[in-house]
């Protein structure tokens, strides 16, 4: 993992001191809310329905046990005993007092964390594959480049007042777990024919009001050009992105209105002018950052496989969890464990202080002191010996963290929605809870197979509904909550935006509607191997629309 050096410490401390001063001036009445608002937003402090909300950055979703313990401590001491892990790999606290913010930021700084650039029209927390550095299918670890981008984008003088927020995601595997094609910049780390590392560069993806799949503007960018090329992209966007309409201000609109060919030409022209400046990265600097992310020295544990076979046979629940929540590791003696924050009927992404402490303890003992936050609102233990799976499972079980549903229909992404969020039009969490309960039975989930449901409570799409296999968008109509369904969305390497089925469903109807879709899928799939998305891609929306809106035909 990356560790702060003196430079980073001094930088973050200075920012905390500055914000302390601003909070004090605000509480003393020297700053008006109008003056203070942009300042608090730069420090991750929002106002929600019930209280302030603090969004803490977890760069590329990687944290240590010590950092997780600190997050637990903050939840306990300054909040109401829990936190919410988000689709941006961050954590949000829902109840902190403004007067406590400086103390919280001090606590975060003590473990090399902060809340900078978790809001505002700047380059936000850089996200990455949550299995980075561990997954067997990885070409190279994307986190060193995410870290370089994090540093370069921190309080960037030129790029702190962009037309709108700007999100960068990096993946290092062909299987895209970071949803790079729905980001402002998506970087796919790969090797060329000569075996050299570089990036395929995508720009202009995003969700929200006008969802767009990103366009590839470069198939292979050498590593040394990462910062110059990114600068060129963001500069073109800063100069030409629309500022007349908040809803048309993201780079996706610029790319769409300018055309991919022309925007590529502009980026390349800008890049030619700056590619040999000081931002061209010497290999030694890349190596120095890369060093922080080297594969840990994991002891050989070949005994695990025979133990696993025995444990599996003895306990079907454990076997189900291993099948569903453990992913192959680069080292055959190890596995990557997904800790589901989606207990049946629970609140997606929420974790109590005790659960955070437990995960931290387990990570310290059994995962080389590393934890990841996934954009699917789960936690990940990246380096667990197969031989330790049983004990890790038993420990997770003690506090409701061993739900065997990673990637299944109850592994639902949901934004906080109208239960917390000042922007929301409808609730998301209760819909997720009811769907989870409806499909919670293990055999039924297993039979349905991979199916990603994603729910947003407003058009901003924090719940990623556009790329849900089944997406649900809550709106307000005549004072009532109404839910629109879209089908066939996907945030992976074959990225698609879901198609809206038709009229929406009331809060009472929505779970039945989802069940209708799932039942129709089970009827029309070729076999169990054809998952929901594949079936949808083969058949299109017709059979599902028919099931949803044509009750008589549905009776059979």
């Amino acid at each position: 993992m990356y560790r702060y050096d003196e430079f980073d410490h001094a930088f973050v401390s200075a920012r905390v001191e500055q914000f302390k001063d601003q909070v004090e001036r605000r509480l003393a009445g020297e700053l008006t809310e109008e003056q203070f608002r942009p300042l608090r937003l730069m420090n991750g402090v929002y106002l929600q329905l019930h209280a302030y909300m603090l969004r803490v950055a977890i760069p590329y979703g990687t944290l240590s046990g010590r950092q997780m313990h600190k997050l637990a401590h903050i939840a306990r001491r300054y909040d109401r005993g829990y936190g919410h892990f988000t689709t941006r790999q961050n954590i949000q606290y829902n109840w902190p007092a403004l007067s406590d913010m400086p103390a919280v930021l001090d606590e975060l700084a003590s473990v090399e964390m902060h809340a900078l650039q978790t809001s505002g029209n700047c380059i936000r927390n850089v996200t990455a594959d949550h299995f980075a550095g561990a997954a067997a299918d990885e070409v190279a670890d994307p986190r060193p480049y995410a870290e370089i981008l994090r540093q370069w984008s921190s309080m960037h003088p030129e790029f702190s007042y962009l037309p709108r927020k700007f999100k960068i995601a990096v993946t290092g595997a062909d299987r895209d777990r970071a949803a790079i094609q729905v980001h402002d910049i998506g970087l796919h780390l790969k090797k060329n024919e000569a075996g050299e590392l570089g990036f395929a560069v995508y720009i202009g993806g995003g969700q929200g009001r006008t969802p767009m799949v990103a366009k590839k503007i470069r198939d292979f960018l050498p590593i040394e050009d990462l910062l110059t090329y990114t600068t060129a992209i963001v500069r073109v966007y800063n100069l030409h992105g629309r500022r007349d309409n908040k809803y048309k201000a993201r780079i996706k609109i610029l790319v769409h209105e300018t055309g991919t060919e022309e925007i590529t030409r502009q980026v390349e022209a800008e890049w030619q002018a700056i590619k040999d400046t000081d931002l061209k990265m010497p290999q030694q600097d890349v190596d120095a950052i890369d060093n922080y992310f080297r594969m840990p020295n994991l002891p050989q544990r070949p005994e695990g496989w025979s133990q696993l076979a025995i444990s599996r046979k003895a306990d079907p629940s454990f076997a189900r969890w291993v099948d569903q929540n453990v992913t192959p590791h680069k080292n055959p003696d190890y596995g990557v464990v997904t800790i589901s924050l989606k207990p049946i009927g629970g609140i997606p992404g929420d974790a109590t202080d005790a659960q955070m402490d437990l995960v931290a303890d387990i990570a310290e003992k059994f995962s080389n002191d590393e934890i990841r936050v996934s954009h699917e609102q789960n936690l990940v233990l990246p380096h667990v010996a197969i031989a330790d799976l049983r004990i890790v499972y038993d420990l997770l079980l003690t506090d409701g963290l061993a739900t065997a549903n990673a990637g299944l229909i109850t592994d639902i992404i949901a934004c906080p929605g109208l239960d917390y969020c000042a922007l929301a039009n409808a609730r998301s969490i209760p819909v997720a809870q009811r769907i989870s309960e409806r499909f919670g039975q293990p055999e039924r989930q297993a039979d349905i197979g991979e199916l990603k449901i994603k729910i947003s409570g407003c058009i901003n799409a924090c719940g990623h509904h556009h790329v849900g296999h089944i997406g649900i968008l809550g709106v307000e109509k005549k004072g009532e909550e109404l839910y629109q369904i879209s089908l066939g969305g996907s945030g992976d390497e074959i990225c698609t935006i879901g198609d809206i089925t038709g009229r929406g469903f009331s809060s009472e109807e929505i779970v039945d509607a989802v069940e209708t879709i799932v039942d129709r899928y089970l009827q029309v799939r070729t076999d169990k191997e054809e998952n929901f998305l594949a079936t949808y891609r083969r058949l299109g929306a017709a059979p599902f629309k028919d099931a949803l809106y044509n009750e008589t035909a549905n009776a059979a």
């Binding site: 540093q151 030129e158 500069r235 500022r243 061209k280």
Partner: protein, 178 residues
């Protein structure tokens, strides 16, 4: 606090502090009489006869709004004594990119000035992207500038101009000079 900001209102700020602004801003050259230093809007400046623009007896600078392109100026930079990039709202960041392009890609040697609603937290950013002077309206900013409180960071994660120009541990970082 307000006393300080009032005493320096209308003055020009540079690294040395506040001073009288030698330039006057006008819509057209005609209305400036024989003022020795004038700033005109981009369209008016571009409309001037070349011989007038190159007249060495008076300085004629050009003011550029965020939505206007600097491209027509690029071939003429050697003859321009001053470019004023406007910040009509604190959240419009286009002029930062233009500053960087003018100073770093095109080696503009004249005075690069930021004009408008500038927050104190932005001053350091402006110096880093290449601005030399500032004509500020924001009272708190004026006060802090008068106190020489620039809100500079202890270091920057990007190359730039201003106070921190010495490379740090990595090629992209900059720390204060010795």
């Amino acid at each position: 606090m307000s006393d300080i900001s009032e005493s320096v209102a209308g003055e020009l700020w540079g690294r040395e502090g506040f001073r009288e602004d030698p330039y006057i801003a006008a819509e057209t050259l005609e209305e400036t009489g024989d003022a020795p230093a004038v700033i005109l809007p981009l369209a008016a400046w571009l409309g001037l006869d070349e011989s007038i623009r190159n007249n060495t007896n008076r300085k004629i600078g050009v003011s550029v709004a965020p939505g206007e392109s600097i491209d027509p100026l690029l071939p003429l930079l050697d003859t321009i004594p001053l470019i004023a990039l406007q910040f009509p709202a604190f959240n419009d960041g286009r002029s930062y990119s233009k500053a960087d392009i003018l100073k770093n890609q095109h080696q503009f040697k004249g005075e690069l000035r930021a004009v408008g609603d500038v927050l104190i937290d932005q001053v350091a950013y402006m110096l880093r992207t290449g601005f030399d002077t500032m004509k500020v309206t924001h009272a708190v900013t004026l006060t802090r500038l008068a106190e020489h409180n620039l809100h500079d960071a202890p270091g920057y994660y990007q190359p730039g101009r201003g106070s921190h120009t010495v490379p740090g541990a990595y090629s992209w970082r900059r720390v204060p000079g010795a």
